[in-house]
């Protein structure tokens, strides 16, 4: 029984339980972010480096900023104590019992599962050298099950359009009276961190083909750079998205579908890339995807369709 | 092929008429009247052609597969022609009556649209070739009649509409259950001369019995059999042409016609007698006859009394069919036509009284004979016919029913007939006495002749004379009686 694993698992559960139980909203958000970071650590421990990166960048990073931003934008009356549950005590006990049974059943189920050797996983590992990318997860994402990845980018696009329709921009709510506006330190931080973030993001995207990384993780880091610039007043929002921004937003999906459809007659199957250019196409798709994801996550944060640079 | 699909064209004429009327909209009266009348006349012609065809024995059949193993079938046999001719003739007469009755009333396009839709449904019921098609048009009739019952829009009409729906849709659901149950026993439900159960009753004795009860329940609602008749008297709140054509002819007869179809063309006579269903049907019919007449006596409103009279008269048909002997069947089936003609005359007269002098209560009938002689003459004719006074139509059907009862050794039916005739007299004669001999209540009533306007009077006269003719000239080849004899000959295969 490895102490580290037991401790992490216990801490995870404790954090999640506190996050859901504690009445104060701000405290539960902070707990949730810490829970996300610890989860990223757990995944690194469970030999899933890609996911650790993704969870840290997207789950804890972007989501953390969004949660804190939303909490900030909720306005004073709503922020403090969240009303304790209105359910009668009996129902709470019932739901507690129900969830306990669910958890127990799931745990016992997972425990029972035999490790099947002949599943799709082993098949994927065996056919690894075939697709251009060495990294197994990226291979699955961009080649074997690239259909899922494509649909997923469409989900991101829908979320962005949905956020526009919700018409509740986050950035504007934080603008004026925020403490960060007037401190000299912010420009220093931005000048130092923004380029570092951009470089790391680009590296992650490029490295995705061979080492853990890829479009999503890289995109998230790039988005983080964008959020930093937005908070530092270098990046403002605009009422309507210019055509360039819209093009970049959908670039990933367009290239993905385009590559699939145009090459379909040749290979008689959707998204089956011919041998010679497979590597090239995948890289192209990955880069455009990263750009689209970065912009989408940024727009999910700002909440308004347009973006404009603010000088000085 | 066109000739063979004649039943479909008969149905389509009124359907198309309905669509044209709906589309034409409220303002174009001239167009609506011409379309209605033209459709009615054209349908009459088609029915005549079909009549001749059936007489010659031509085959009229249209099949359309709706589901694997389930078909919409329209065909025309002798029984169909009986109901189709009755409806076609009376639709023409009632359309003329309705056009003048609704002179200035609002929503006339809506009225005539649903009116012709009702007739289309009735035609469908008449020409249906199997239980499935019958049920399709049976429910369509409910949907088409509801708007007519609530046509006036008064809160009272709405309440009646709700009652009407509850009964008819409930009945429809029970009927559907019966049909599907029959279907699941492997009986497709086609209308074949000797019945299409072909031996199923041997294996599933109880189920077949139970299914008959379901079918009877479903059809009984529209045939106004006793426990299910409540909607009919209250439906009198509808305008006169509606209560005339629909509640005296189309809707009520659809139920009775359904019972006839089920008894003869689905179950067949042997099964009916073997499972004692015949006597059950006859018993229920008798109860309704007596109950209907008793309730009629207690009514003060003219149309409600006529409604209860309808409740009891329709059960004569069920009684005739229930007895199962050839003569009783003749009596029952011919009463379908005779009752239709007589009852529509009475309702037309009631409509005339209400429209010209606003008479609704029976007490207000005093001395109306002097002021509206023709209408009251027709009323008297109809009344005597209903009572079964020879040589009128009512007598012919009751005579055959009596003979049929003797033939089927169901002696208990004779006293039922006599008692009901007596009860008829009890509720009809006082009305006649008031109309002719009682002095008019207020002074201005004695001013002189104030007959209903021509548009209302002429149709009443036509139906009155037709009722008279059906009785007196029963012997002629194309009279309802001889046609029914032709049907019975086919059914019993003599």
């Amino acid at each position: 029984m490895n102490l580290f694993d037991a401790l992490t698992a216990l801490l995870l559960v404790l954090l999640a339980w506190r996050c859901l139980i504690v009445p104060d909203l701000f405290r539960s958000i902070v707990l949730f972010v810490v829970f996300g970071l610890l989860l990223a650590l757990t995944w690194a421990r469970l030999d899933a480096p890609d996911l650790a990166l993704a969870e840290a960048a997207i789950g804890a990073g972007v989501l953390g900023v969004l949660l804190l931003g939303t909490w900030r934008a909720l306005g004073s009356p709503r922020r403090g104590e969240t009303p304790s549950s209105s359910l009668p005590a009996g129902l709470r006990v019932l739901s507690a019992a129900g969830s306990a049974v669910l958890a127990g059943a799931l745990a016992y189920g997972l425990h029972l599962l035999p490790g099947t050797g002949d599943g799709a996983g082993t098949l994927a590992l065996e056919t690894l050298p075939l697709p251009a990318t060495g990294q197994p997860v990226t291979a699955v994402l961009l080649d074997f099950r690239s259909y899922d990845t494509l649909l997923e980018t469409a989900v991101l696009l829908m979320a962005v359009v949905g956020t526009w329709l919700a018409r509740s921009p986050l950035l504007d709510a934080l603008s004026s009276e925020d403490a960060t506006a007037h401190t000299p330190v912010m420009p220093v931080l931005m000048r130092l961190f923004a380029p570092v973030l951009l470089v790391t993001g680009a590296y992650l995207v490029w490295a995705g083909a061979y080492t853990p990384g890829g479009a999503f993780q890289g995109g998230a880091v790039l988005a983080a750079a964008g959020v930093l610039l937005a908070l530092g007043r270098r990046l403002g929002t605009a009422p309507d998205a210019g055509w360039l921004l819209r093009l970049l937003l959908v670039l990933g999906v367009l290239v993905f579908i385009g590559a699939g459809l145009l090459l379909m007659p040749a290979q008689n199957a959707f998204m089956a890339y011919p041998e010679r250019w497979a590597g090239l196409i995948m890289h192209l798709v990955e880069y455009t995807l990263a750009v689209s994801i970065a912009l989408s996550l940024l727009l999910l944060f700002t909440g308004r369709p347009g973006l404009r640079g603010i000088s000085g | 092929m066109i000739y063979q699909a004649l039943p479909l064209w008969v149905l389509m004429t009124s359907l198309v008429a309905a669509l044209v009327v709906f589309v034409a909209g409220e303002r174009r009266h001239r167009l609506r009247i011409t379309v209605n009348l033209a459709a009615a006349v054209f349908k009459l012609l088609l029915v005549a052609v079909m009549l001749v065809g059936v007489l010659r024995g031509d085959l009229f059949l249209v099949r359309f597969a709706v589901l694997p193993g389930v078909e919409l079938i329209l065909h025309a046999d002798a029984l169909t022609m009986l109901f189709t001719t009755l409806s076609a003739v009376l639709w023409l007469v009632t359309t003329v009556y309705a056009i003048s009755y609704l002179e200035q009333r609002p929503n006339r396009a809506r009225f005539f649209g649903f009116f012709s839709l009702c007739v289309a449904a009735t035609m469908g019921i008449a020409t249906a070739g199997n239980l499935f098609t019958f049920f399709v048009f049976y429910e369509l009739l409910t949907l088409a009649t509801w708007p007519l019952v609530v046509h006036n829009g008064w809160p009272k009409a709405m309440a009646v509409g709700r009652l009407y729906l509850r009964y008819t849709l409930g009945g429809g659901a029970v009927l559907l259950l019966g049909i599907v149950a029959l279907n699941s026993l492997g009986v497709p439900g086609d209308f074949l001369a000797g019945g299409s159960l072909d031996g199923v009753e041997k294996t599933h004795r109880a189920a077949v019995f139970g299914i008959f009860l379901l079918l009877l329940g479903g059809l009984g609602v529209k045939a106004a059999v006793v426990p299910l008749h409540v909607w009919l008297p209250s439906a009198m709140v509808a305008p006169a042409p509606v209560s005339a054509l629909l509640h005296a002819v189309a809707v009520v007869k659809a139920g009775a016609f359904g019972i006839v179809r089920v008894v003869y063309d689905v179950y067949g006579l042997e099964v009916m007698t073997e499972l004692q269903l015949g006597t059950l049907l006859a018993a229920v019919a008798s109860v309704t006859i007596i109950y209907g007449s008793l309730k009629a006596i207690a009514q003060t409103d003219l149309k409600r009394r006529l409604a209860y009279s309808t409740v009891s008269q329709v059960s004569y048909i069920a009684l005739g069919v229930g007895l199962g002997s050839p003569l009783a069947t003749v009596g029952g089936l011919v009463h379908l036509v005779h009752q239709g003609l007589m009852k529509i005359t009475l309702f037309f007269c009631a409509g005339n009284y209400a429209e010209t002098h606003g008479i609704h209560k029976i007490t207000e009938l005093n001395g109306i004979g002097r002021r509206m002689p023709w209408t009251t003459a027709m009323f008297t004719l109809g009344a005597f016919g209903m009572m079964g006074a020879p040589p009128l139509a009512g007598f012919v059907s009751k005579w055959y029913l009596g003979m049929g009862a003797l033939q089927a050794e169901a002696l208990w039916v004779i006293p039922v007939l006599l008692v009901s005739t007596a009860l008829n007299a009890i509720y009809f004669l006082p009305m006649l006495y008031r109309a002719w001999f009682a002095p008019p209540a207020d002074r201005e009533a004695a001013a002189g002749l104030a007959e209903a306007r021509l548009g209302l009077l002429v149709p009443t006269l036509c139906t009155g004379i037709a009722a008279l003719g059906a009785g007196v000239l029963a012997g002629l080849p194309l009279s309802p009686l001889s046609w029914v004899a032709f049907i019975v000959a086919q059914e019993y295969g003599e």
């Binding site: 080649d143 329709l165 309507d240 | 709906f22 597969a65 949907l143 259950l177 599907v180």
Partner: protein, 484 residues
């Protein structure tokens, strides 16, 4: 070429959505119309192909099954794609009248709707458990922003509750998929089905999780709380799409799982009767609630909750008749419910409110809308000659064949209750305005032909379905792999 059709049916609508997103506030309806045609064409071609050639399969990315994802267009998916295409085109025409492309918010309808269309086609074609999760999520996330188009505070809180519950449903479904992947190591439905043949405790747990997740997303009674508000407060064409297609997608997936991998766990008598019990509860509860709603759109929304209950009656009567009955009822309900919502939307648009009590006397003024409502109501009530009736007929035959008498009574009772709430609305059309009201105040806004006629066409289609039983059931073919 036929190999490409499933892919085109998914990606052309998505492409249309993306192009409309790119085109920005530019030209008016023409682009939108182009988008609709671009989306409808492949769907119809695919349906024709399936009718001719039977099941079509396509291995995405050229990889064989356990590794890659398989798209499969069999009878059931072809029927659902046909339903989506038909309802989609007519609702789009109606939306052309309502959402003009200049206004920023309603322009997004023309982005989200083709994406939703593509997502629906993707879901109907998917034969892979995880891919079904992604497409289901895609459908939900395209539908929720559409609810927002109305922009009212009610719509926002309804959308939020819808989102939270839909997310929860998806997570449960994913938990089930995880367990199945743990057991079998494959995600393809057919392969998983073969490897799950042994059954056992874990399969039951996985089935329970997946089914619960789908029941939440399909708003079956215990989890229906989000539906009435979401469908009630959304604009008319959106609620038509939601009720006719989106909610049915979750039930479709349930049927697909039942006839595929989860056949054994779900056909155990106890589970089958539990699901049927939920269906009965949905029918009765939804209808009773529909009878009590003050607003027209809520009546129609609760009617959806009720009508979806019918689709759960399949499980205890596993047979070809029940299968055909449930699916035919689903298709007929889709068409008729879309017509009902469009008609209700027209009424609301014209006289500014949809309180049933105050509809009195508006019959003459809104003749076409009430006419559409009546015709569509016939199919919802399951009265002949409508598609709903054929569905009810097949279901009744199935229940009586299986000897489940009380289930037949429930179906009939459902029909009568439906008659209750349909005629409750129609009564307003025939009733005279009460004497003191100074006659019907003139309609607030006049609706153009674009908004008026698609609803009527959909209603008439509901009736036409009453006659088109033979070809459609031939297209559906027999029950895939079930105990039929």
């Amino acid at each position: 070429m036929t190999e490409m059709l499933p892919v085109l049916a998914v990606f052309l609508p998505l492409l249309a959505g993306v192009i409309l997103f790119l085109s920005g506030p530019g030209p008016g309806g023409l682009w939108a119309l182009g988008g609709i045609v671009l989306s409808a064409a492949p769907s119809l071609l695919l349906v024709r192909q399936v009718a001719v050639m039977g099941t079509i399969e396509h291995l995405m990315g050229g990889w064989s099954v356990p590794l890659g994802i398989r798209l499969m267009a069999d009878g059931l998916s072809a029927l659902m794609i046909l339903l989506t295409a038909v309802v989609g085109v007519l609702v789009s025409i109606h939306a052309l009248g309502l959402f003009d492309r200049r206004d920023a918010a309603s322009r997004q309808f023309w982005v989200l709707w083709p994406l939703l269309w593509g997502a629906l086609n993707a879901l109907f074609l998917s034969a892979d458990l995880f891919n079904a999760y992604v497409t289901l999520e895609l459908v939900t996330l395209a539908a929720i922003p559409l609810v927002l188009l109305a922009g009212s505070a009610r719509a926002v809180s309804a959308a939020l509750r819808y989102l939270i519950l839909a997310l929860f449903g998806s997570m449960l479904y994913l938990a089930g998929v995880a367990l199945i992947y743990g057991l079998t190591g494959v995600l393809d439905m057919q392969l998983a089905g073969e490897r799950l043949a042994g059954g056992g405790w874990v399969v039951n747990l996985a089935a329970a999780l997946m089914v619960t997740g789908l029941l939440v997303k399909a708003a079956i009674v215990p989890f229906h709380l989000w539906l009435p508000d979401a469908h009630g407060s959304a604009p008319a064409p959106v609620s038509a799409l939601l009720s006719a297609l989106v909610v049915k997608a979750a039930v479709y997936l349930l049927l697909r799982l039942w006839s595929g991998p989860l056949l054994e766990p779900l056909s155990q008598p106890s589970v089958a009767w539990l699901l049927a019990g939920l269906g009965v509860a949905a029918i009765l509860y939804g209808s009773v609630q529909a009878l009590r709603q003050p607003r027209l759109k809520l009546v129609v929304a609760y009617s959806t909750v009720a009508q979806l209950g019918y689709m759960l009656l399949l499980f205890p009567m596993a047979g070809l008749l029940a299968w055909q009955g449930v699916i035919y009822h689903g298709v007929a309900h889709g068409v008729a419910k879309a017509a009902l919502f469009l008609a209700a939307g027209n009424i609301l648009y014209q006289i500014g409110h949809d309180r049933i009590v105050d509809l009195r006397g508006s019959g003459t003024v809104l003749a076409v809308s009430f006419g559409t409502f009546a015709i569509a109501g016939i199919s919802i009530m399951g009265l002949p000659p409508s598609g709903g009736f054929l569905g009810k007929w097949l279901l009744l035959q199935a229940t009586l064949g299986a000897g489940a008498w009380w289930l037949a009574l429930v179906i009939l009772a459902g029909g009568l209750l439906a008659a209750g709430y349909v005629f409750r609305v129609l009564r307003a059309a025939f009733q005279l305005p009460d004497s003191d009201a100074e006659g019907m105040e003139p309609p607030v806004r006049h609706i153009g032909p674009l908004m008026r006629w698609p609803a009527l066409v959909l209603a008439l289609l509901g009736i036409a379905l009453g006659f088109a039983g033979e070809p459609l059931l031939a297209l559906l073919g027999d029950m895939p792999g079930g105990a039929g």
